[in-house]
Symmetry: C2
Subunit: 747 residues, 2 copies
């Protein structure tokens, strides 16, 4: 007994020893300089009197908004460098310093916690001050990744990233003519390189550290300076968290675990495509039958219009009143059962906004479940000829009410899942929330609350692992709730900033922010046939649809969308040939599903994302760090999706130190080079790492060649793609002509 | 004798009394607030501890440049509010205060000088600090004018204006498709609302004060805040000058006198049009003869290609080697004499850059008259397939050398004047000047130096009042040298931001910055036929040419330009009908020349600009303050140029308190209203103020009706304008279609 007690005490003291030590190294010369390092000499803070690491700001952040497109103006009247410092306290695990300028002072505590070797926290902002700039030491060649779902660049260094969830934008490139049209004739909807549904103040550095800022208020991450990164945080500052690990992969796993591992996908999603269809029960079943007839592997039918449609002057819109519309979808309940027996789920759609003309709105208003305005009335937003109330997700009662609606109206109906859309529109000012918080405080947190409602609805019905929902809006921590993200609304084009290509950096950066399971709308979403008036129609081509489906073979979910103008777009059902090609790719997705499942488990167990940048697997290959549009799918498959029009060959970089087998010719290619391979439509360029120590999936990959021969007309009758990708067209067609302009304009 | 001495002493003491008093009123409560007022209760400085009027900055201003298009990034690492203050000294005419934050302090002296009631000066910047923000008290409804030549807005309030001379841009409106093309395919040449050849840190306020910052380094004038204006000045701060007067007109006259009154134009410019022609002696004379045959009143022939042309892959360019090219212009010397006998001057072109292939470059390099690079070689700039050296205008020797070239090669040849082009391209970094200054110090000053060289060349040859030169680049003080400005390179369209319309706010703001004599290229300059590939050709139409000539009747100079793509544009000589219409307007310009001369004298004697905003003449009419695109030409004529396509009626605002006679129907209209009048091509809408106390020009104006009947085909055969104004076309054609986009993009 005594021995046992002693042992316990020894054990406790070891724990204390381990947990009480400081896992950071401060070095300072009072009123001169202060450096804080973690791990193996990784400098995090490099402060000196003339170049402080912290600045107190006073100013205003002003937001203007139009339909989810936010324009932010951060006006800083003062930005005071807190150069002087002195130590004011310490504990076993922490050191506190006062940083000051004249009488203006802020206490900063550096601390080791059980989770992080270095956590930096701050005393309250002095009166009149509204924010902080915090600098993190950087080196000129340092690379930075993450910040949530960033579409335009993989390495984020050299740019400024606002952290504010919003519409991702249409075009997202101020040099692209689609963006220009969307900006000037779409209420400023063009977006920019940084606009995203899912920004997150978390990044990883190739200097082998991670930085996570814990607050949700508006922030800016400025990665433009050579010797520091700087982060602006508005309002009362939250904590900064730092860790260091031996590799990007370990850092990724660390952040995923710390923020919450993503639940596993239901197994049925691997049994085929989820087909985005709509238009009522009959049409849904008709599309299904034709798909089956053309050998499409089908796991689900996704009907976004299950609650009915509205006719506005702009065409059909969904009716935002989230329950089964039995007029529009007669017998949906029994149809769901019939389909389920065939192994096919029906999936639907919901968002946290309620059309004032619907019954749910009335119920929510009566139950006081809505966000209010300052006059005590429901805060209404115009979503385009209809007004909506917003369920107040800051209220436990409202969340419970809405969760029960999801359970009753969706899960109990037998749905296999849904798109949990929106979550980005919460106004910065003028809305009143039951939590007492302001719009500025809850705006970035909304996706987390929205994800939680969906997840709890499923868990309480014991449908985890059966029902899936997918979200576009995100923030730090959303991973522990959401089963799945999707990449939002790509343009139906090949553009780097907002087309098929953009889904790759989006997935990779999201993966390095702790969310490793995502997918995208096959064929893209945003269609603008009306741009035809300018010779720049944005319409989905057959080529884009099939290239997009090719790439989706190597993602965790294979789901199509008709786009916002279905009639203008090529669809998987447009003709039998396309349907057969699409079907072949859907079966390819199913063929590799055992591999996909193991890759997805890597995420749910260890936080290793399904899609990984090459350098995550091959950090010692310096050339691998420069590759943006290829990725490792798990640790074996290297995928190089075709992301341009009119391509029949691809140059693929194969990492050093391994042999690589091209899945379509079975030949081995040495790593450390670019290798040119065929990339005809239907044959997505992918290689697998030849690894004598691991033969688990070799047979499966080898079989692809024999199991998926070309569909006859595919190679013999080349099809003519419709006009695509306005931005691409412009640049291809005109760069040579127009480079002359500036010179010709001069005398 | 004694009485005389006493009288003298009394007189001197009165002078001292007058000059030694402080003409500003400081009111302060130490370490609380400090207000400085001038004149009749005009608050200039409103400082308090928590909202200081001065901020010390440390940071970097970074410039990138492509062919005169500068992109400025003002990064401010710190911006320290100097809230505390204490009085540290005073004299009879001044008070000095120390403003500080902690140990960081700056002395600010408020002083009355013989010229200004309030001059604010600063002690040196503390080590590590690189600039200042200075706030001037403002009221929410306050209006601000001036800042040099500002094209896009008359009232500048609500926007930020960088002070950095540069290319004005092509399109100058980020919502305009021409700007988009120029930005993306013209090396970022699109410009913006603030880009101008002639920015100046001087403004007038309707609160009846003027503010002038005396420095030439990069500055920013931010007019976006409700309760203050703020001005950023980089580098060692110069002085701020303030004055107050009873009206905008008096403020305008004050600034013009203080910065230097503009010399008077030669009288011959009022005798007809200066025709922009080129292509050699024969073609010049041929154009002239046809013009005379069609009753064009001709005062000059402007041949920009007098020094020859270069053929590049982009077409013909001028050969930048500034002397008569006798091969290209045979017998030019004798031709000049012949033409002069007919009362016609020949005018040419020069700029401060020298083609390395020319003889002047060789001479300048040998004489060490060129700007150098840091390697001790001439600093060369690529102007489009040819390289140039830049005459070092900071060197008295170089200026003298270049002045003599102007005298020998231009004045002595018998030229009547020239375009003194460029002056905006001086690099911020990397160039070495003989004065020892940096590019940042001399960049904004360059136009002043360039103007001085031209002026001195003329004065030393005693040709003042005979020879005219016109400039586009400008800065504070350029008025005392330059005989004439021109509005730079308008697009050949009706756009507000960069077309015909933009010349009106440009002239009015320049007038309120101290430069009251300006003009523009009739028909505009920047042509981009190549935009036809996108259905947006930027080509001059007949309508634009004639509307532009109409408006020029009521400016001090009537000069045409063929544009940068002459063959694509409609020209005054395109056909006989156009030539007759143009001729009729040129004679109208001559007809009112006595009036124009008196208006121009108002400028040279008193600093009252020729073109004046309505509120300068009618400050008590509150509605007059909202009129941007009409102006008073002198004090009698109200001009409302037609600045849109397809207009046959105009609504013209007539100021309160007077009757107004429409020059084309002779009828009187009461002021205080908008009046609709006809505005057919050839009949520029203008009114004259019916003033019983002043009949000086009544007859002249009355005669216009009878002397200038319509040219027969003008009204009977309407002509079809060619495609014009891409921006306009886009907005007219598509606004309705495209406003639907954003909604259609949403589910």
């Amino acid at each position: 007994m005594r021995f046992g007690l002693t042992l316990l005490l020894v054990f406790l003291s070891i724990i204390c020893e381990a947990s009480c030590q400081k896992n950071y190294t401060p070095q300072w010369l009072e009123n001169n300089s202060l450096n804080i390092k973690i791990g193996n000499d990784v400098m995090i803070i490099s402060h000196n009197v003339s170049k402080p690491f912290i600045y107190l700001c006073s100013g205003q952040v002003n937001f203007t908004e139009f339909r989810g497109n936010f324009f932010v103006n951060n006006y800083e009247a003062a930005r005071v460098p807190l150069g002087s410092f002195r130590k004011t306290g310490n504990t076993n695990t922490s050191d506190t310093f006062e940083f000051s300028f004249g009488s203006l002072a802020l206490n900063v505590t550096f601390e080791t916690t059980t989770t992080y070797p270095l956590v930096v926290s701050f005393s309250s902002l002095p009166t009149g001050y509204t924010g902080l700039w915090v600098r993190i030491a950087a080196t000129p060649g340092e690379r930075v990744y993450g910040l949530g779902e960033q579409y335009s660049y993989l390495n984020l260094r050299g740019r400024m990233y606002p952290i504010w969830t919003r519409e991702q934008g249409v075009g997202r490139n101020k040099s692209d003519i689609v963006t220009f049209f969307a900006d000037n004739f779409g209420g400023g909807a063009g977006g920019d390189y940084h606009t995203t549904y899912f920004p997150q103040s978390t990044f990883l550095s190739n200097r082998k550290y991670l930085c996570h800022y814990g607050g949700y208020n508006y922030a800016e991450v400025n990665l433009q300076q050579p010797d520091f990164h700087e982060i602006f945080v508005s309002g009362p500052p939250d904590k900064f968290y730092f860790d260091t690990r031996g590799s990007i992969k370990e850092l990724t796993q660390t952040i995923a675990k710390n923020l919450g591992l993503q639940p596993e996908l239901p197994d049925w999603v691997y049994t085929g495509a989820i087909l985005g269809v709509q238009g009522g029960t009959e049409l849904m079943l008709d599309r299904y039958q034709k798909a089956v007839d053309n050998d499409v592997a089908v796991s689900g039918l996704w009907i976004q219009d299950w609650a009915g449609v509205l006719v506005t002057s702009f065409g059909k819109r969904l009716f935002w009143d989230w329950h089964w519309n039995a007029t529009y979808y007669p017998n949906l309940n029994s149809t769901i059962d019939v389909l389920r027996e065939k192994g096919v789920r029906v999936l639907a759609y919901i968002n946290p906004n309620l059309n004032t003309a619907g019954s749910l709105y009335q119920e929510a208003a009566a139950g006081k479940h809505l966000v209010m305005n300052t006059s005590g009335q429901p805060y209404l937003m115009d979503f385009g000829e209809f007004l909506c109330g917003i369920v107040d997700l800051t209220s436990l009662e409202a969340r419970t009410w809405y969760k029960e609606k999801i359970q009753l109206n969706m899960i109990d109906l037998g749905l296999g899942g849904w798109m949990a859309d929106f979550g980005e529109y919460v106004a910065a000012d003028g809305a009143v929330f039951q939590s007492g918080e302001t719009g500025r405080q809850v705006h970035n947190k909304w996706p987390l609350l929205w994800a939680e409602v969906n997840r709890q609805a499923i868990e309480e019905r014991n449908k985890t692992g059966e029902v899936v929902f997918w979200m576009r809006a995100g923030t730090a921590g959303v991973g522990k709730y959401t089963t799945l993200m999707w990449a939002g609304d790509q343009n139906v084009d090949f553009s780097y900033a907002d087309g098929l290509a953009s889904t790759i950096p989006a997935a990779l950066n999201m993966g390095m922010s702790g969310i490793g399971i995502t997918h995208y709308d096959i064929g893209g979403y945003t269609t603008a046939a009306q741009f035809q008036a300018f010779g720049q129609a944005l319409i989905r081509s057959q080529e884009l649809l099939l290239r997009s489906a090719e790439a989706a073979v190597f993602t965790p979910l294979f789901r199509s969308h008709e786009g916002n103008q279905p009639a203008a777009n090529v669809q998987f059902y447009t003709n039998q040939y396309i349907e057969q090609c699409f079907g072949r790719l859907s079966r390819m997705f199913v063929h590799i599903s055992n591999y996909t499942r193991s890759v997805a488990q890597d995420n749910s167990l260890f936080g290793t994302p399904a899609q990984r940048p090459l350098f995550m697997e091959f950090p010692d290959d310096s050339d691998a760090w420069d590759v943006t549009y290829q990725y490792m799918y798990g640790s074996r498959l290297l995928v190089a999706p075709v992301i341009s029009s009119n391509v029949s060959k691809m140059n693929v970089y194969l990492p050093k130190g391994w042999e690589w087998k091209f899945i379509w010719d079975g030949k081995n290619y040495p790593g450390g080079n670019f290798t040119q391979v065929d990339s005809l439509i239907g044959f997505p360029p992918a290689f697998y790492k030849v690894d004598p120590s691991d033969h688990r999936f070799d047979d499966m990959i080898e079989q692809i060649r024999s199991k998926f021969p070309a569909i006859p007309p595919l190679l013999t009758t080349p099809t003519t793609p419709k006009p695509i990708a306005a931005g691409m067209k412009l640049s291809v067609q005109s760069f040579c002509v127009l480079t002359a302009v500036v010179v010709a304009l001069m005398i």
